[in-house]
Symmetry: C2
Subunit: 346 residues, 2 copies
């Protein structure tokens, strides 16, 4: 019979998680003191800045535990943060994890979250160095702060895009949202775990290596990750840069799996590409003569697919798409809003 | 009519909070990029390490909004983290704030939380550089990560206490718990806001200056803050150092207000001194011949009261108290456990 958290208590749980991380986590350079004191002690590599981000995943809102295993959930929660560090061109280093847990949750589930955290961090020599846990009666939550290093002055930012520059995107946005819909339609036991759309949802791979490869030289002028969906985050990049964007409908990388699924649903795959979707791809901009260099840099890491999907335009916050029927204005989407009705749409 | 968060949305709220921080927060040295990109960018002062901590305050568990104003709650939430940095001897610098909020919460309340955060950070030239917010249906929460700087190799730790050393404590532990009880008995409108015990609960002053004054030289051998209550955290310090402790009942700094309140309740003030209480004082140890030097260092900052309350003993994890009736063994308390029945006791 598996134990519940309430049976072993907070300190019992912390002891177990610490042992788990000792075995399955890694020891990043620069760490003087990890879990167990009032604070962790750590040091940047010489000449580096810190990129620091924090994200919360709340049960029922950002994830539904019936569609993700505990391990997948842990990996995904860390991926959300890794993706932010990737968008800055950073090397992930240290994570702090604050959890809100019900006493009735199985200890083994929390251990599997931590296995997921470690699985996401280990490839980057990054580790959990601290945290906090508290009991909740309602929805559980995972709040992660991730610190990454980036050589001083070389971080990628949202604000560097200029009119005439190319817009590139990695991977195939929209797949994760479509994967979630498949899971919702068929349930977890629908034998869908190997479906490429479901995989895109359950096991996103943040573009950390690709981001690092772009930091430092002047090939890429701006970068952002697609955590708010492609259009939402393209809008965020444009707002930060004071520009607009024109997309080419025919050039959007719509994956065969996304085309097949949306055809079955009688829906437009472009809408799924543009809308909220937990894909964690990168949108970057660069001068038109640098498109091939940028693509080589991105694809050089893990052969990540990368496509030019449009150009930056001068009219601030004007997002439009050029298709067979001409030019259409796209609604300015700032992204997934957790407090208005927008968060109920796809 | 005051607006609710659901009416202005996540991005509207973020815009308002950013403007508020621009006006009322400060700009710490080393910050290249604050709120608004995928991550904040920041740099340590040369020769410094980072001390990093994270703490969650959950509504109903760590605070009851009927006993704290929104401003007090914000200040307290930041104080919890400042106290951890204080216990390491660090200089607070950068905070990231993740919030779980109900859509029905008033925007003005969240703004007042932020005013409280800024009021706690401003004296230390520290600032909020990032965050995240998400909607919750049940209890709200505040999850804060705080980064502080400490000259490399000079941080205070829990693990340096040796047998024979003196145990010192700042301030008057137990007051905050007694203040909360007063509020619970009389309600917020009981005209208690100026009562010293209530003040101890509503407006704790973490010992940041005192911690910094102790870092770096070898006067103090170990330090911890009393966020888990005096006995719980003395136990944590002893466990980390592999030692025990003997307290002198007659030397415990029991404030006149605590004595008066517990006399009225017919309770032992020592129990309140030792038990869980949100006081955020520091427990430190030092060699017996350094007691006066340590006291001068601590009191030199803000005239903080500081008292020797006992000595470190060799027997690991053995906590005892010497009173009129001789020596009594104190139950090993690891501190406030959020998941077992212990968290229901005082």
């Amino acid at each position: 019979m598996e134990k519940k958290i309430a049976e072993i208590g907070e300190f019992g749980l912390i002891d177990r998680l610490r042992r788990l991380l000792d075995l399955e986590g890694c020891q990043p350079p620069g760490l003087s003191l990890g879990i167990g004191d009032d604070a962790a002690l750590l040091q940047a590599q010489p000449g580096c800045q810190w990129a620091v981000t924090c994200d919360v995943l709340a049960e029922g809102r950002h994830y539904l535990s019936e569609y993700l295993t505990a391990f997948q959930l842990g990996k995904r929660a860390m991926a959300v943060n890794l993706s932010d560090i990737a968008a800055m061109g950073g090397q992930p280093r240290y994570a702090l994890v604050a959890l809100g847990l019900r006493g009735s949750t199985l200890v083994g589930d929390v251990e599997n979250w931590y296995r997921g955290f470690a699985a996401a961090l280990n490839p980057w020599d990054a580790a959990i160095v601290g945290g906090n846990m508290t009991q909740v009666d309602g929805s559980q939550f995972i709040s992660i702060t991730l610190m990454g290093e980036v050589p001083a002055g070389q971080a990628l930012r949202r604000s560097g895009a200029s009119p005439g520059q190319a817009i590139l995107v990695t991977g195939y946005p929209g797949q994760a949202a479509a994967g979630l819909r498949l899971l919702q339609e068929r349930g977890q036991d629908g034998g869908l775990e190997d479906h490429p759309l479901v995989q895109a949802y359950t096991s996103p791979m943040p573009r950390v290596g690709e981001g690092r490869a772009m930091a430092g030289d002047r090939v890429v002028s701006a970068a952002i990750d697609t955590s708010d969906g492609f259009l939402g985050d393209l809008g965020n990049l444009c707002a930060a840069s004071g520009v607009g964007a024109r997309l080419w409908a025919a050039q959007l990388p719509l994956s065969p799996a996304l085309r097949a699924a949306t055809a079955k649903w009688g829906e437009d795959p472009v809408r799924w590409f543009l809308g909220p979707s937990d894909d964690y791809e990168l949108i970057v901009t660069c001068a038109p003569e640098q498109v091939e260099a940028a693509k080589r840099r991105i694809a050089g890491v893990n052969q990540a697919p990368v496509h030019q999907v449009g150009v930056i335009t001068p009219e601030r916050d004007c997002l439009e798409i050029e298709g067979e029927s001409g030019l259409s204005r796209l609604l300015r989407a700032r992204g997934w809003d957790h407090f208005t009705s927008r968060d109920k749409e796809i």
